[in-house]
């Protein structure tokens, strides 16, 4: 068997595959963050809480109402988006004119509250969410067993990321959005309802987080801490990619998943830190991030 740096190629390929799965989650979450930051100028620290909420909603839908996985793929993110709309309408909108710090503090506080409520109700060990029947089992790729569900996660995340990028960068609706953030007054003068657009953008961003939560539910334990575990890494991803850069968020998310996977092979103890080391290096060399533009 061939080896690379003393690690069998097979093991390496397996790790890269898993890195890709994790990277997909990172990409989807950081995409939502990037969209929200780009359009609203809000650093949405509650993103992890919305991700957790998505997972919990799908668990609740299944256990209290018997709604299956496929419907919760639609309904849970919708529920999360509605919560997002309420928060944007009642709280966030007052902060757009202020420093980023205020939005960050508000959303951070919200994240703590939301997490606290779920923790109080469900404890920290979490709830199991069984795999949908269709995805039980694994593909034998020769070098590893790839669980069908993980393959689905990669496909789903990548398509959603691509669709979002396409809508924002290549369609008329996307151009309104981008214009609205550059100069809201002017866009409003053309008869476009900018506040509504902003609300929907926030709803869409957190809905994406909710959807990632539904996708994650069968893979991880549905537990109140799942958001705070991942949100810090996701922030690092956004910082590395460049705040507000959509393409940057997607590419960096995937790349960091891969790098993390490799670290787990060569020096597993550092796997929790490697992302931040990269972040520090990127900030030193390119403070605006890899894909960000200096303003």
């Amino acid at each position: 068997m061939t080896e690379i740096f003393g690690v069998p190629t097979q093991a390496l390929m397996g790790q890269l595959m898993i890195g890709l799965v994790n990277g997909s989650f990172y990409a989807m979450l950081s995409l939502g963050l990037a969209v929200i930051f780009g359009m609203l100028n809000v650093v949405n620290f509650a993103h992890g809480a919305f991700y957790m909420m998505g997972a919990f909603f799908s668990w609740m839908l299944l256990n209290y109402f018997g709604v299956n996985y496929w419907w919760s793929l639609l309904l849970a993110p919708l529920g999360v988006a509605i919560v997002g709309i309420i928060i944007e309408k009642t709280m966030l909108r007052w902060l757009y004119q202020l420093d980023h710090l205020y939005g960050l503090l508000l959303t951070f506080g919200l994240a703590l509250i939301i997490e606290g409520i779920f923790r109080d109700q469900y404890g920290v060990s979490g709830q199991p969410y069984d795999l949908p029947e269709l995805f039980k089992g694994a593909f034998d790729l020769g070098f590893m067993m790839l669980p069908k569900y993980r393959a689905w996660v990669i496909v789903a995340c990548l398509s959603i990321c691509f669709a979002t990028w396409f809508v924002i960068e290549r369609t008329r609706l996307g151009s309104y959005l981008r214009a609205g953030t550059e100069n809201p007054k002017l866009v409003q003068a053309f008869g476009i309802n900018v506040p509504l657009m902003v609300t929907l953008t926030y709803a869409f961003g957190v809905g994406l987080a909710g959807l990632a939560g539904v996708l994650a539910a069968p893979v991880y334990q549905v537990n109140p801490l799942m958001g705070s575990n991942i949100v810090i890494v996701v922030f690092a991803v956004v910082v590395i990619g460049g705040m507000g850069s959509i393409l940057g968020a997607i590419v960096t998310g995937l790349a960091l998943g891969l790098i993390e996977g490799l670290t787990k092979v060569f020096y597993p103890e550092a796997s929790a830190t490697v992302v931040f080391i990269i972040m520090a290096i990127v900030l030193l060399i390119r403070p605006a991030g890899l894909f960000g533009r200096e303003k």
């Binding site: 790790q15 994790n22 923790r119 920290v124 060990s125 694994a138 669980p147 334990q221 787990k264 103890e269």
Partner: protein, 410 residues
């Protein structure tokens, strides 16, 4: 977290007020150093181990105080609790404040081995009793031992390895690979279990260390899979064990290899679900459905906490009650006198029968080997275990002769 702290402060304040105004009816013999017996429960209230200890442990301590009668030498017994966030330095600060300023007489629970080692060290320095239940590192009664202040009550990594390790090697599982939580507890567990496996004629093929509270274990499991070991030993606990088991079943590891959860409590089994956890072997010091006494206590606990207790919760109850009885018998809360009483008196309650605290601080009691039931065998919620064997305390725990505790070798 803040809310809970605020709440506990309020509760404590209320307790202090009520203690101040209470009139003492009968003259009582005996005296506590500062008039009041005050115990602290230090645990993880909100992190990965919050279901393992957490609010349930505080409730168990409260139940023990209530069952004792609530009063010692005519004064209300006080209970304080704090969240150490699984950080040894935070734990040390809180404990220091408890001992120095708040006049706490003894601390209980102290889960997380890094925390337990720090707290026990502080107890040694300040001459205060520290009872560890949730943490499992065998270092607590060996390298880090404190025979004059520290008690290790529930299980330790030697016992865990002894019971499950021996049973599995005997069953033919003679090659092992460890998935280890990268801190004091995981390292102890890996070493102690590895020693048992080797002593029983098995081999340890390797191990991989993961950071505490990892959400995705798939890549570590791939390494375990590549090792071709027959048994993958999970030298971790709580949510980490839960996530490892989920990932293992997803990646088909369980087809050719078997998992051994070295420290898994019923709350973890509940979280994984029987579908995934069925067939697992595990060691526990207590199970709610063992006899009428355990069931009765578990029922009372469940009425308050809305879920069944695990062995850690039961041992917090038992240790607090044992401590209070010892203070009463000694007629003082003086550390040396109380500790002597605790060691002289055998423990006979719903948690342990004939339990005994040894001179190194190790509480020796029977340990049990359980297998997780199939979903079809489970008749009610929380009906999860089949008893596979009882291991006598002397056989489960490390014999005193092998102790590496320097303070005992005078």
């Amino acid at each position: 977290m803040m809310k809970r702290k605020l709440l506990s402060t309020l509760v404590t304040a209320a307790l202090i007020c009520s203690a101040g105004t209470a009139t003492i009816a009968a003259a009582q013999q005996g005296k506590a150093s500062d008039d009041v017996v005050k115990i602290g429960v230090l645990t993880d209230m909100s992190g990965v181990y919050a279901d393992y200890g957490g609010p349930g442990a505080v409730m168990a301590a409260r139940m023990a105080i209530e069952d004792f009668g609530g009063k010692m030498f005519g004064k209300n017994i006080e209970l304080v609790n704090a969240d150490h966030q699984n950080k040894a330095d935070v734990a040390k600060n809180i404990t220091q404040q408890w001992f120095d300023r708040d006049k706490v007489d003894a601390t209980f629970e102290n889960l997380n081995s890094a925390v337990a080692i720090a707290v026990q060290g502080l107890g040694k320095e300040k001459n205060k009793i520290t009872v560890v239940t949730g943490a499992a590192s065998s270092k607590l009664t060996n390298e880090e031992c404190s025979p004059n202040t520290g008690i290790h009550y529930l299980m330790d990594t030697v016992a865990l390895g002894n019971v499950v390790g021996k049973a599995i090697v005997k069953d033919g599982g003679d090659s092992w690979f460890f998935l280890t939580a990268d801190y004091a507890f995981g390292q102890s567990l890996e070493k102690d279990t590895g020693d048992v496996v080797k002593a029983a004629g098995g081999k340890v093929l390797g191990s991989v260390k993961h950071p505490l509270s990892t959400s995705d274990f798939s890549s570590f499991l791939l390494q375990a899979q590549a090792s071709k070991a027959k048994i993958v030993g999970l030298a971790n606990a709580g949510l980490d064990t839960v996530n490892s088991i989920k990932a293992a079943s997803e990646f088909g590891l369980t087809k050719n290899q078997n998992l051994a959860a070295l420290l898994m409590l019923i709350t973890d089994v509940h979280a994984v679900g029987l579908n995934t956890a069925q067939g697992l072997y595990l060691t526990e010091g207590w199970y709610w459905d063992m006899n009428s006494e355990t069931r009765a206590w578990a029922k009372r606990y469940e009425e308050r906490m809305k879920k069944k207790p695990n062995s850690n919760h039961a041992s917090v109850y038992s240790s607090v009650l044992h401590y209070l009885n010892a203070v009463k018998a000694a007629g003082t809360d003086d550390t040396a006198a109380v500790l002597k009483k605790m060691k002289d008196t055998p423990i006979n309650d719903m948690f342990a029968k004939g339990g005994k605290i040894r001179e190194d601080g190790r509480m020796v009691h029977d340990m049990y080997l359980f297998q997780v039931k199939k979903p079809s065998e489970s008749k009610a919620p929380w009906d999860y275990y089949t008893l596979k064997g009882t291991v006598k305390g002397e056989d489960a725990f490390q014999p005193l002769a092998l102790s590496r505790c320097a303070a005992l070798k005078k």
